[in-house]
């Protein structure tokens, strides 16, 4: 009886040490998890989730337990991927109005632009070039169609066009 107790206690202690060591060396850091979540998001940087960008949202999912269904451009497909990765339940995306997507890009009407510089500052991916008092324009290859430049424009000269047109 005593031998058996000692043997099992010994095995338990060895396994416990193994577990502690492996959890120390093989642990995934919080940053790695955030990286992975960010890669699952569409990374349009539209801020429609309520966070300033995709990485802040990914961080919020990890640290603040933010909902995973806040990304309108990603749609339900993204929620499904996130749910699979995080092992949480699927629930459809709640916000659906004017969804940003990669198929559209912003277009600045050159006659109307007054060179106020506000859209340039709003662009999360530096896809707008121009300077004060001069016409601005969108670099179409870099634009993600996030729509963040539209509200600040005082003369409403920005519209969305199809990426392939």
């Amino acid at each position: 009886m005593a031998t058996a107790t000692v043997i099992f206690a010994g095995i338990a202690i060895v396994l416990a040490i193994l577990l502690i060591v492996s959890s120390h060396y093989l642990s995934t850091t919080e940053n790695e998890v955030i990286d992975k979540i960010e890669s699952l998001l569409p990374r349009i940087q539209c801020a429609q989730c309520g966070y300033p960008g995709c990485r802040p949202y990914a961080a919020a999912i990890v640290t603040d337990k933010a909902d995973i269904n806040l990304c309108p451009p990603g749609g339900n497909e993204t929620v499904r991927r996130l749910a699979k990765f995080l092992g949480s339940d699927f629930s459809p995306v709640t916000k659906y109005s004017t969804t940003a997507n990669l198929n559209e890009i912003a277009f600045i009407s050159e006659e109307l632009c007054i060179g106020c510089n506000l859209c340039l500052r709003a662009c999360p991916v530096d896809a707008i070039v121009g300077t004060h008092q001069s016409m601005h324009t969108v670099i179409s290859d870099h634009c993600t169609g996030c729509r963040l430049c539209i509200p600040p424009c005082p003369v409403d000269c920005i519209s969305l066009v199809s990426r392939n047109a």
Binding site: R43, I44, C54, R55, P124, H142
Partner: protein, 503 residues
């Protein structure tokens, strides 16, 4: 002489019921002259040619109407004499689908005198290749890859030129007829190609179901008396006519993914291309005609026709006696690799080898599609050694990573898996969609990655700007503190304070 043991087959493939006798019993019709031509500028692989004629201009047969846009693309020529009616966008069949391209539209007249042409003279090798491009010669097997480009690939030594007369598609017989009627010209073209690539041996490959072509070619080999041409007949097996399958059947070597037949020492050329090259070298005639098989039950006189490039399909059908009853389907290319089009207002291009019409009355009802039962029948027939059932599953699950691993992009869309599937699943149709979706996914992930990178850079820039400003302010405050120790400034500050108190 012959270094290779000639293997007889390749991996996979299926036997298909032949329908060649619908169209191969008549001679090639050579008197077809359409009333108008729609000549597309995008007939070759690579960038489009640039129209070099004006509307209203009178042009002669064989004149250049589209100049090559880049150095290694081909020119486009007028296939009949006439007047340029318009230069406009028109639907054109290209690589598996109908898209719009700039076309030169010619109202033909019956003068049809060919622009004065002489057999070309070449100063050197490079000159010859440029001349082939200017003659608009492209691979006539279906891909329309510029011939000069293919002959000029010099990644390794070419030991064997394979002249592809296999023609494994069950309905097509244009190469068969060409070999029967123009065997000598075809072989002469092959010899010219051999000289260009520096090969020692040409192997003409013909499937066993074309005895007349085999006879004609072997007679021509005797007449020419060249020892470096050899004829091989191979068993009828679909898709032997595929470049990679042909190389495997002849040499036993598999062409690795992402490489070309030249990397295993072979170059494949279609017999039609050899004929076109001979016409150019002997007569100076650019590529303005091609032989098209018009077949199927929906046309009155199925036959092979020498068609001027750009002729509308509707006129070609009329030339072949018109439609026989109501036609349910018009297929461009073979019934295996071809695609259905919904209008006959399209032009014949350099890559159109066959037009199949199916009659509504005799079209059997399509089979009902059942779920995949995982029988594995599709695996041994795939000539590229893929796993079609796994690919289908990955496609249904939208698992793009898995699709890449399974080698979806290697699929040649031959349709062997479709033929053997007991559940009648249209696998190739699904694979085409999967390829398209995967390309989209790759494109958008590239965009996303770039956006992420730019967002990171902007955030970094802003925060470093912010930090800089903070530091600047701090430094300024510090320097004010420093300078306030100066006596003169102290005195001035005192005076200012006094003035404020007086107020």
């Amino acid at each position: 002489m012959l270094k290779y043991p000639l293997f007889q087959s390749f991996y996979g493939g299926v036997h298909l019921e032949s329908h060649k006798n619908t169209s191969n019993h008549k001679q090639i019709a050579r008197d077809f002259l359409p009333s108008r031509l729609i000549i597309p500028m995008n007939q070759q692989f690579g960038s489009d040619a640039i129209p070099s004629v004006k509307v209203g201009q009178l042009i002669q047969k064989g004149e250049v109407i589209g100049k090559p846009a880049e150095k290694n693309t081909t020119a486009v020529h007028a296939s009949c004499s006439g007047r340029v009616g318009a230069i406009e966008k028109h639907p054109v069949p290209t690589a598996g689908k109908v898209s719009t391209s700039t076309c030169v539209i010619i109202e033909t007249n019956d003068e049809n005198n060919i622009a004065a042409q002489k057999p070309p003279l070449f100063k050197n090798h490079l000159d010859k290749l440029t001349a082939i491009n200017h003659a608009g010669i492209v691979g006539l097997g279906g891909a329309a890859f510029p011939t000069a480009e293919k002959l000029n690939r010099k990644s390794s030594h070419c030991e064997m030129l394979i002249l592809n007369g296999a023609e494994c598609e069950p309905y097509i017989s244009c190469d068969d007829l060409l070999m029967q009627e123009h065997a000598t010209e075809v072989l002469r073209g092959a010899l010219a190609m051999m000289e260009i690539v520096g090969a020692e041996l040409t192997v003409v490959v013909i499937e066993k179901d074309k005895p007349k072509a085999i006879e004609a070619i072997s007679n021509a080999i005797e007449t020419i008396g060249s020892k470096c041409i050899r004829l091989t007949d191979i068993p009828t097996m679909y898709p032997t006519g595929g470049e990679r399958q042909l190389v495997e059947a002849l040499t036993g070597k598999e062409v690795p993914s992402g490489k070309y037949p030249i990397d295993v020492g072979c170059i494949c050329q279609n017999v039609g291309t050899a004929y076109a090259l001979d016409c150019f070298f002997q007569l100076g005639e650019p590529l303005i005609n091609r032989i098209v098989t018009v077949t199927g039950q929906g046309v009155k006189n199925p036959q092979n026709v020498a068609v001027p490039i750009g002729a509308p399909i509707v006129e070609l059908i009329k030339f072949c006696g018109g439609y026989d009853g109501e036609v349910s389907q018009l297929i461009l290319g073979g019934n295996m690799m071809g695609y259905t089009v919904d209008t006959d207002q399209l032009p014949v291009t350099k890559s159109t080898n066959c037009i199949i019409t199916t009659k509504k009355a005799t079209t059997p009802k399509p089979f009902e599609i059942w779920p995949c039962i995982r029988c594995g029948e599709c695996i041994p027939v795939c000539p590229v050694r893929l796993l079609p059932q796994q690919i289908l599953k990955a496609y249904e699950n939208k698992n793009f990573e898995e699709l890449g691993k399974l080698g979806l992009s290697e699929c040649i869309e031959c349709g062997c898996c479709d033929v053997v599937c007991p559940s009648h699943i249209p696998l190739v149709e699904n694979f085409r969609k999967a390829k398209h979706l995967r390309m989209q996914e790759i494109k958008s992930s590239e965009l996303s990655n770039a956006a992420q990178k730019r967002y990171e850079l902007k955030t970094q820039r802003l925060s470093s700007q912010h930090a800089n400003t903070e530091k600047l302010h701090a430094d300024l405050k510090e320097s004010i503190k420093e300078s306030s120790k100066n006596d003169m400034i102290k005195a001035a500050v005192e005076r200012s304070k006094k003035r404020r108190d007086k107020k």
